[in-house]
């Protein structure tokens, strides 16, 4: 007998929209309601869900199917809670947060923007190093490290300037943003934008314009997604890292 509940999302409303597809392991999906909102769940006989492409896509497909019909707070893949009682307890504890989040994301979707720098960056002006140092091996070692550090710092600053310029343009067409500048060696920015559904074509056009304005950079625009980056986390009674933020 199933003793765990796999959580897909929180929706507005106390009932499951008709025709919702089945869940993981072909289990029936149900709505666990609490004061006008519901957790959408399906039963699991075990508390861990293998991270497979099929499971990830099924989770996402179900959430997006509901997103087409209700305001949805998507829950991270792999979130498993004990039973419907613990679910209702969680809904009651976080009720106000869920209401705020539902208000925040109603009518909106998430679009992901990633920008990469070219593999070969133009040479930057070298910062002057300390002059007239003796040329012992230890000194040469540290001078080389200093040069690498200065170069990495200059690159990072350049990436941050690019990211801030691109972001300033895109934020005119978004309600909110979660972003990091220079997130990796070649990464200029990695951002999620919260955009009104009807504004998605305009936002897409603006990203395209930015990619044309910066031909040396590579842009990736994905979505629309449910607003994963703009909602709080559903706590879990399961300490398994797969079901935690």
């Amino acid at each position: 007998m199933a003793s765990w509940q796999y959580v897909y999302c929180i929706i507005e409303g106390s009932d499951l929209p008709p025709g919702t597809c089945r869940g993981l392991e072909d289990a029936p999906v149900q709505a666990v309601a609490y004061r006008g909102i519901s957790a959408i769940v399906s039963p699991l006989p075990h508390r861990q869900v293998p991270v497979t492409r099929e499971h990830l896509l099924l989770h996402e497909r179900l959430v997006e199917e509901l997103m087409g019909r209700r305001t949805v707070l998507p829950v991270r893949f792999g979130t498993v809670l004990g039973n419907t009682s613990s679910l209702r307890l969680e809904l009651s504890r976080q009720y106000d947060c869920y209401l705020n989040d539902l208000d925040r994301v109603r009518g909106k979707v998430e679009l992901g923007v990633r920008v990469l720098a070219p593999n070969e960056l133009p040479e930057m002006e070298e910062r002057p190093l300390r002059a007239s140092l003796p040329s012992g091996p230890g000194t040469r070692y540290l001078m080389e490290r200093l040069g690498q550090h200065a170069s990495a710092q200059a690159t990072r600053e350049r990436f941050e300037r690019w990211a801030q310029m691109i972001d300033a343009c895109l934020m005119h067409h978004a309600e909110d943003r979660r972003a990091s500048w220079a997130p990796s060696e070649k990464g200029v920015m990695s951002a999620a934008y919260l955009v009104w559904q009807q504004e998605v074509p305009v936002f897409k056009e603006k990203v395209k314009m930015q990619s044309e304005a910066w031909p040396e950079l590579q842009f990736l625009l994905t979505g629309p997604w449910p607003a994963y980056s703009f909602v709080g986390e559903v706590a879990s009674s399961n300490p398994d890292p797969l079901s935690r933020p």
């Binding site: 300390r130 140092l133 230890g138 540290l142 990619s211 590579q218 990736l220 994905t222």
Partner: protein
């Protein structure tokens, strides 16, 4: 160019722009440690290597922090020439020793890192 990145079917295609660069983005994401945290390998035959990896990662982290500190002090001019030479020699020898130990335990540079889950990689 044939892509080795598997793009979902049209029903679930979310790429609005940048399809031609998917390989590069996928490889950058993987390199930047954007995946779910891996489980601890409790294989008893690999415990020794696992411990060595942990210890050497921490030593490498401390070495990098101390080097950065030394570089900052060189930049502001608070180290004498002798101090620069002595510290440089110390860091050089420490780096050489770490390379030897990595060789003993069959570890590569990319092995010396720790995934901190939502915080990303340690280094």
């Amino acid at each position: 160019m044939t892509s080795s990145v598997e793009i979902p079917s049209e029903e679930f295609d979310k790429i609005q722009l940048g399809r031609e660069s998917m390989e590069r983005f996928a490889s950058e994401l993987q390199r930047a440690g954007g995946c779910l945290p891996t489980r601890i390998d409790a294989d008893p035959t690999r415990v020794e290597q696992g411990l060595a990896k942990l210890v050497l990662t921490l030593i490498e982290l401390i070495r990098r922090l101390l080097e950065k500190q030394a570089i900052r002090r060189i930049e502001v001019g608070s180290l004498s020439d002798d101090e620069i030479e002595r510290m440089g020699l110390t860091f050089m020898r420490l780096e050489q020793k770490l390379e030897e130990l990595k060789g003993v335990f069959g570890l590569e540079d990319e092995d010396l890192n720790l995934n901190l889950g939502p915080l990303g990689d340690l280094m």
